[in-house]
Amino acid sequence: MTTTYDLGTTSLRETNQALHAADVEGEHEITNLAGSHNVAVGLAAPIKVTIHGHVGYFAAGMNQQAEVTIRGNAGQGVAENMMSGTVRVTGNASQSAGATGRGGLLVIDGDAGARCGISMKGIDIVVGGSIGHMSAFMAQRGRLVVRGDAGDALGDSIYEARIYLRGTPKSLGADCVEKQMREEHLTELAGLLKAAGYEGDDPTTYKRFGSARTLYHFTHDNEY
């Protein structure tokens, strides 16, 4: 059974509280968004939520277990601090998509703006289009897959996250370097593409980027 919440008649708080109920289950739809912020945040159950329209800030933030689909564009901080589950945006996402995420999978079919995956800590992010500047800034863990290009300063001050990029970065950030694509990486990338619904892509057309690890320890030669 599908439960539908019309934000024109049901308040956002009531909608989110219904989705937080201890016994929540099944499928849920949210309509009449008009760019609202904080839609479907803090979900913590294996439910399916479909959001029909463009959303504002922090949609599906802090997600655990739920499978959320946003049929539209998302404002800044979509799926920020996700722990587990899946969030899919069928349109474009604004800045800081998947910020600080610790787990789960975020798929953006369109483009993502600046700072995609900033400080990611274990989340997997697959972007169908391109990403903006300063993406994966200080990214610590997890994988960021981009089928298009990247903006300036990709992976600035990156720790141990892995970036797979099919297109070209406008520039690389401090301590981010291209790395060899070994067999294990091709396998990992193929798995991520499949999970995101892009299994048609040839993993060998991607490049891998990550940390040169020169910023891990203080040296007087660090100049940025």
Binding site: G35, H37, G56, Y57, N73, S94, Q95, A114, M134
Partner: protein, 311 residues
């Protein structure tokens, strides 16, 4: 925070609805700033009759008839005055520079909201909803409008600190963000003979653009110079009677979204301010890139300009 909205109408059929659409956009951004607000409306006949020079006086402590009579005598041309909320709108059939000079001579301490042809600027302290209602914004027509909702961070909550800053003829600038080096740029502009109304950082941006345009530069060139001169965070909407331009700083953390259809171009801090525009479901919607100047012109309505700044 602060919120910005702007609407550039291409379809003349929408011109009578400008105020109604702009009111919805402005009030939706009240959450981003509710201490003061302002608007600039281009082409509303009741506020800035076509072919006339117009000027907006904010919180003027004098009756409209009295000010109009004083300026009529001073200029030798009939000047009419209308009080709209806290703003006194004056217009007359003369050069806008002559009207401006007459106002400055007769009322040296009054805050001038804006001046030029086809432009009315209204701003003040209070919530956007209350101000829009007091101005009767919903009934305004025109081809272009911008609005700003302020949450003051770096200077006082006063009408002089409210946006827009409309300091050059027909020009208008609204800002979300903060300039870091405004004091030194203000000093340089003062040395070049530019006068200021406030200690507000945004006023420095507006004076800088006006100074560049007065020196013969175009909008694209002036905004390119701005990106090279100003340090800080900014999303700016810069307009004059024929143009509508958006630019963001290199970091681009202050939000902006642009939507475009055959009938209009709109810009706002957040999508929800655009959600109720007619035809939004068919609009092309995107985020402006850092240090790229997006510029539309009424005189070349189909040429959606995008000029990348070469750093």
């Amino acid at each position: 925070m602060c919120g910005i909205v702007g609407l550039h109408l291409r379809s003349p059929e929408l011109h009578p609805h400008l105020g109604e659409l702009l009111t919805g956009m402005l009030c939706e951004m009240e959450d981003r700033g509710a201490d003061s607000a302002g608007i600039a409306v281009y082409g509303n006949q009741a506020w800035s009759p076509a072919g006339m020079a117009s000027i907006s006086l904010i919180d003027a402590d004098a009756a409209a008839e009295e000010v109009a009579a004083t300026l009529s005598t001073a200029t030798g041309v009939p000047v009419t005055g209308t009080q709209v909320g806290n703003t006194l709108l004056l217009s007359g059939d003369l050069e806008s520079s002559a009207l401006l000079a007459a106002v400055k001579a007769a009322y040296p301490d009054v805050l001038i909201g804006g001046f030029g042809e086809d432009l009315a600027v209204l701003k003040g302290v209070g919530s956007p909803k209350a101000l829009a209602a007091a101005w009767g914004l919903e009934a305004a027509g025109g081809w272009q409008g911008v609005g700003h909702t302020r949450m003051a961070t770096e200077s006082a909550v006063t009408a002089a600190g409210a946006h827009p800053y409309a300091v050059g003829p027909g020009e208008c600038l609204v800002h979300n963000g903060s300039f870091a080096n405004h004091a030194s740029i203000r000093r340089d502009l003062r040395e070049a003979g530019v006068a200021f109304d406030s200690e507000n950082d945004t006023e420095v941006g507006a004076r800088f653009v006006a100074h560049e345009l007065a020196g013969g530069k175009g909008v694209d060139e002036a905004l390119t110079d701005l990106t090279r001169t100003f340090d800080g965070f900014y999303t700016l909407l810069v307009s004059n009677r024929d143009s509508f331009a958006v630019v963001r700083d290199a970091i681009a953390c202050k939000p902006a979204v642009i939507a475009e259809t055959d009938d209009w171009v709109a810009m706002a801090s957040e999508y929800r301010a655009l959600a109720h525009l007619p035809g939004i479901e068919r609009a092309r919607i995107w985020e402006p890139e850092p240090e790229v100047i997006y510029h539309w012109s009424r005189t070349a309505p189909t040429a959606a300009g995008k000029q990348e700044v070469v750093a």
